[in-house]
């Protein structure tokens, strides 16, 4: 158990530009490990990182697991499937169990918005909490790896124009990205049908548009969000065909982008719905880079939260309440 003050990474809104750049720069150093014969560092030896997943996400879990293991931490995977969590054990009781096991950090994916926040601040545990996606709220490490990928591809973020397209209303990836990219000086434009645009989007640090085509020639990067097919049944849009026609990224639209522009997707993709196979497999697509960068960024987050006597990033602990 770390002795010093404890911090968490719950939202990109909590990251200053300096914090975010520190994470990206640290990740850049970790990225170089990939070329070495031994990809492991002894830094977090003896520390325990728990991956607590209330929602299936093999990709995110493996990414965090790899990151923790490359830093020599002990990793415990605690998944809702096949454990007492699925039998109705409360988040609180699970948290108390993890506390008793001496977890130094809990990486939590939760279907409820605020799940990570609650785990961090309800006074149940003393570990650092890393939000690996909570409901329709935030997914800060995804935004960090997107920012890392953009910086690597575009040479920087200041003044770069990033267009985020799709189901913004239900997307934690969009929420985290808008805040982080704004903090890092990029200009974000959200594109969605009005039904999938957040109610109070005017107050967000970005601009918005209901049409994709006019935005494309001015975009340095386009981030396509995954569309849940069940949204159609909830009348957010009439048909998949209409959605794809108005908001999908396909070859014709890709041709309207500037030469240097990239197309991103957080995965998993619905090929043929929000992104065509041709685009997904093109040289502009950063999809596989995003996955690789995810490990480096998550190593950086774990190192900066757990590596020293006190964390270098994240939100101050609010202390135990009531």
């Amino acid at each position: 158990m770390s002795a010093g003050p404890r911090r968490h990474l719950l939202s990109t809104a909590d990251l200053s530009a300096e914090d975010a750049m520190l994470i990206l720069d640290t990740a850049a150093e970790f990225a170089r490990l990939a070329d070495r014969p031994i990809k492991k560092l002894p830094t977090l030896r003896g520390r325990t990182v728990v991956n607590l997943f209330y929602e299936d996400s093999t990709r995110t879990r493996i990414s965090f697991e790899t990151a923790a293991k490359r830093l020599s931490a002990d990793v415990i995977n605690f998944s809702a499937k096949g454990s007492s969590v699925s039998k109705g054990e409360s988040l609180k009781d699970t948290a108390l169990t993890l506390e008793a096991m001496g977890a130094d950090a809990v990486v939590v994916r939760h279907w409820a918005s605020g799940g990570a926040h609650r785990l961090a601040h309800a006074g149940w545990i003393r570990s650092a909490v890393v939000n690996a996606g909570d409901g329709t709220h935030e997914h800060p490490t995804q935004a960090l790896l997107d920012a890392y990928t953009l910086r690597a591809r575009l040479g920087g973020l200041e003044g770069r124009r990033v267009t985020v397209v799709g189901d913004v209303l239900h997307s934690r990836v969009a929420r985290s990205n808008v805040r982080l990219l704004a903090t890092l000086g990029a200009e974000v434009t959200l594109v969605a049908p009005p039904t999938l645009m957040p109610f109070g989007v005017e107050g967000w640090p970005c601009s918005s548009s209901y049409a994709l085509d006019p935005v494309l020639p001015k975009s340095d990067a386009v981030m396509m969000l995954r569309v849940q097919r069940e949204r159609m049944d909830q009348a957010f849009f009439p048909t998949e065909r209409e959605y794809s026609r108005r908001y999908g990224m396909h070859a014709d639209r890709m041709a309207q982008l500037p030469e240097h522009a990239v197309v991103m997707h957080p995965g998993p993709m619905n090929r043929g719905l929000e992104i065509s196979a041709e685009v997904a497999d093109s040289a502009r697509s950063t999809v596989t880079e995003q996955v690789a960068n995810g490990v480096s960024v998550r190593m950086a987050v774990l190192y900066l939260l757990l590596g020293g006597s006190e964390p270098a990033i994240g939100t101050e602990d609010e202390g135990e309440r009531r």
Partner: protein, 204 residues
Amino acid sequence: MTDVTVPTAAENAASGLRAPAPMRAVLDAAAVQRALTRIAHEILERTQGADDAVLLGIPTRGAHLAARLARQIAEVEGRTLPHGTLDVTMYRDDLRLRPARTLGHTEIPDGGVDGKLVVLVDDVLFSGRTIRAALDALADLGRPRAVQLAVLVDRGHRELPIRADYVGKNLPTAQRETVQVRLAEIDREDAVLLGTKPEREAGR
């Protein structure tokens, strides 16, 4: 060159504990240069031409020193030794005693370190813990034929069985003194300065 003198208790008292005694130059720019030239020659001598030597500097100042040594050797031999940097932050044994810090840069020259004679370069040799971390970091990068150590200043007070193969200047010091190496690349001058920690920070 000035001789090393430890300030007397009276001098300390006179300077007042609030403001530490000003740092005193024990090596000036010319002396730093002479020391590096000597180390460069010693490396060539002791490694019989340094055919398979790789210079790895420990960030921040050790990295600049390694680059300078490589340049000096090139002037003598007409050939540039492979040189790079080795960040040891993640291998330090005091990571958890201090706030998480920014990583330095590790840059291994083409050809790697396997089977090579690696000369680690650092500015000051003190407890030996940095070098211990460097040896661990090195082991994760490959298997050198041998490892040697070059330092600009050896100030004593070793806490581990580590010694330098090449020393620019042996500088006997008291625990509560501080040694600061300044290099033109980042500090706008070459010098080695000696100072005294204020009583409170001396860790007594």
